[in-house]
């Protein structure tokens, strides 16, 4: 069965999706120098997966990034962010920026900001993807005061 949208949409989104991911990663990495940061970058990264989800259907996307993997990744992102904050305890204060600050306007110039942005990027990218995919997968039907969950459209009736 031919799932998903038309051939034109599939081809274009196949070409565009890797570029969107790279654009998102660049927003994450240059968050402390240009507008952006972990959150917007993560949203852009997850948007590329959502684009594939819309054009190809869920099987193709889940073969690239499975639900279990993104579930683990978004928790690891949160723990990473917390541990970056905890590194400050080495010199006594929570969230203290103890790294070498580097040269102004170069990539290595914000101390722990770069790592924080990466952690937030992982967290937001995967958790937003997880949320949208779950919403698209499950249909919730309320019938006769009972709530039922369906994974396929055909099962409802």
């Amino acid at each position: 069965m031919n799932r998903g949208m038309s051939e034109i949409v599939k081809t274009i989104s196949k070409i565009v999706a890797p570029f969107i991911i790279i654009f998102g990663i660049s927003i994450v990495f240059y968050g402390h120098l240009t507008p952006g940061g972990g959150f917007p970058g993560g949203v852009v990264i997850s948007a590329s997966f959502v684009l594939l989800l819309l054009s190809y259907g869920k099987e193709k996307v889940l073969s690239k990034l499975s639900l279990e993997k993104s579930d683990i990744l978004h928790n690891i992102g949160a723990i990473l962010f917390l541990s970056i904050a905890l590194i400050g305890f080495l010199e006594g204060i929570f969230f203290l920026n103890i790294f070498n600050k580097g040269k102004l306007f170069s990539l290595w110039s914000g101390g722990n900001l770069l790592f924080s942005n990466i952690a937030i990027g992982i967290k937001i990218g995967t958790s937003l993807f997880l949320g949208i995919t779950l919403l698209s997968m499950v249909r919730i039907v309320c019938k006769d005061n009972k709530i039922e969950y369906f994974e396929k459209k055909e099962d409802i009736e």
Binding site: I79, G92, I93, F94, N97, C142
Partner: protein, 489 residues
């Protein structure tokens, strides 16, 4: 002073670690949550010595000074809230290890439980309007999830109602915070209070009004109470204990304490609003509780009524008023959590919370009946249990300020409270039933209730005289401290 921030760190760490392990091992998830909450309780107990030695501890996150960075502060007032919160969270967690087995995915509960605890701890330590809002949202969104945890239709409906009204409250608060930022250019409470002394009054009145409305919606004072009976009666019982005993007080009442007494000190008239709201919710809550057929719903209306006492006492003010508000917060937290855990244990055995379906529990569950009676007598203000002392302090405060009518209403409402609890006791505890065999009850369900009821039993006679020196320090802060003093140093 890294101990200040340790409860928030520990609970956040516990939330994300449990999220990694709960699918493999649900038992371990419960024990991890319990051990993290005990660790945070220990850290708060260790913090106490420093707070009472130094009057207040101010912590700069990341080493940034006052107007720039995030500032945390714990003084004796917030320490009392912090201590009550953190000493009760392990008990509720202990209770839910057995209780949550009723549900399909108990591991998920501990994640959300840790998040709501992190949020509530965060509200108590932050000295920054926006941080208070962020932690308020963490706690609130976690509470919307917890209310709908059973996924029955009614629970989802209650949670939806709660979510919409909760977001209205949060929106009112964030509009107030936005106006503060626009007016003064700062979000730090100390900095704002320092600048606000020179601002025009009618603009500040509007901000104060938004804050009072928003936080009363979170506290469920009378005209803003619609979500509470549904949400608190349909949630799982440990969650009801958490929400009714701690959540509404920490997210609503504590910010109101601070706003009325320490931040907007230039408007002593605002206390009259609180007296009105408090009286209305006292009267409304107790009259609605009389006629309920569902026990948890009755407890929920009783919460509205008792929260009214706190707001009233805060509005009356003065030494006795503030003392009464703090005492009633502590004792009502203990008693109402005990009652909800109690009904949770009954619900775990009999799967019902309707009054007419439960009979003769005295013979079946003797320990549950004893602890439940202690909780009920405490809330209705019978000596020597906890709430008697707080209620009598509130009545004294009203008489000292010559509000004789208010003192009379306090006594009447307390009698009505006793009335509906006695009706409940007669119907479910001491009525005759054909079948009267003692039912086994799990140790995990029983022990938290026993510990809570021992605390309530001893509170009036043993604890109140001994902790009075600490309560006096908190009352001193409510009477004399304004955040602006931090900037003057």
């Amino acid at each position: 002073m890294n101990l200040i921030i340790s409860p928030v760190i520990l609970y956040l760490l516990s939330a994300f670690l449990i999220a990694l392990i709960w699918k493999e091992n649900e038992k371990l998830a419960g024990f991890a949550s319990l051990s993290f909450s005990i660790l945070s309780m220990i850290s708060v107990i260790l913090l106490g010595r420093f707070v009472f030695l130094n009057e207040r501890i101010i912590y700069f996150v990341g080493g940034w000074e006052v107007p720039i960075g995030i500032t945390l502060m714990v003084d004796s007032l917030s320490y009392i809230f912090l201590f009550t919160l953190n000493s009760m969270l392990p008990l509720i967690c202990w209770f839910s290890i057995t209780y949550m087995k009723k549900y399909t995915n108990p591991g998920l509960f501990y994640i959300v439980f840790s998040l709501i605890s992190a949020g509530m701890n965060g509200i108590l330590i932050s000295m920054d309007f926006f941080n208070i809002y962020v932690f308020l949202e963490i706690a609130s969104i976690a509470s919307y999830i917890l209310v709908a945890f059973g996924l029955r239709t009614e629970e989802i409906e209650a949670s939806l109602k709660y979510t919409i009204l909760g977001f209205i409250g949060s929106t009112l608060i964030i509009i107030g915070i936005g106006l503060i930022l626009g007016k003064t250019g700062t979000l730090n409470i100390a900095d704002f209070t320092y600048i606000a002394e020179n601002l025009r009054k009618h603009q500040l009145w509007f901000i104060l009004g938004l804050f009072i409305a928003g936080f009363s919606l979170k506290t469920a004072l009378f005209p803003f109470h619609f979500w509470l009976p549904d949400a608190h009666s349909l949630a799982p019982s440990p969650v009801s204990a958490l929400l009714s005993g701690l959540f509404i007080k920490v997210t609503g009442l504590y910010p109101l304490f601070r706003i009325i007494t320490n931040i907007f000190v230039m408007f002593p008239e605002s206390k009259i609003i609180l007296i009105g709201l408090g009286l209305a919710s006292m009267i409304f809550g107790s009259f609605m509780a009389i006629d309920q057929i569902d026990i948890k719903r009755m407890y929920a209306y009783s919460s509205i009524s008792q929260i009214g006492y706190c707001a009233l006492s805060l509005g009356i003010g003065g030494y006795w008023g503030y003392l009464g508000a703090i005492l009633h917060f502590i004792f009502h937290s203990l008693s109402k959590s005990l009652l909800f855990l109690n009904i949770g244990a009954i619900e775990y055995k009999y799967n019902t919370t309707k009054i007419e379906e439960l009979k003769g529990l005295e013979d079946k569950l003797p320990y549950v009946v004893t602890t439940g009676s202690i909780g009920m007598l405490s809330i209705s203000g019978i000596p020597p249990f906890g709430c008697f002392w707080s209620k009598i302090v509130i009545i004294i405060s009203a008489i000292k300020k010559h509000y004789y009518g208010i003192a009379f209403i306090c006594v009447i409402i307390s009698t009505i409270t006793l009335g509906y609890f006695l009706r409940l006791k007669r119907n479910i505890f001491y009525s005759k039933d054909d079948e009267s065999k003692t039912v086994e009850i799990s140790y995990n369900l029983l022990m938290p209730m026993v510990i809570l009821s021992i605390f309530i039993l001893l509170s009036g006679l043993v604890f109140t005289p001994n902790i009075k020196i600490y309560l006096d320090k908190a009352v001193y802060i409510m009477e004399n401290f304004t955040y602006a003093k931090i900037m003057e140093k």
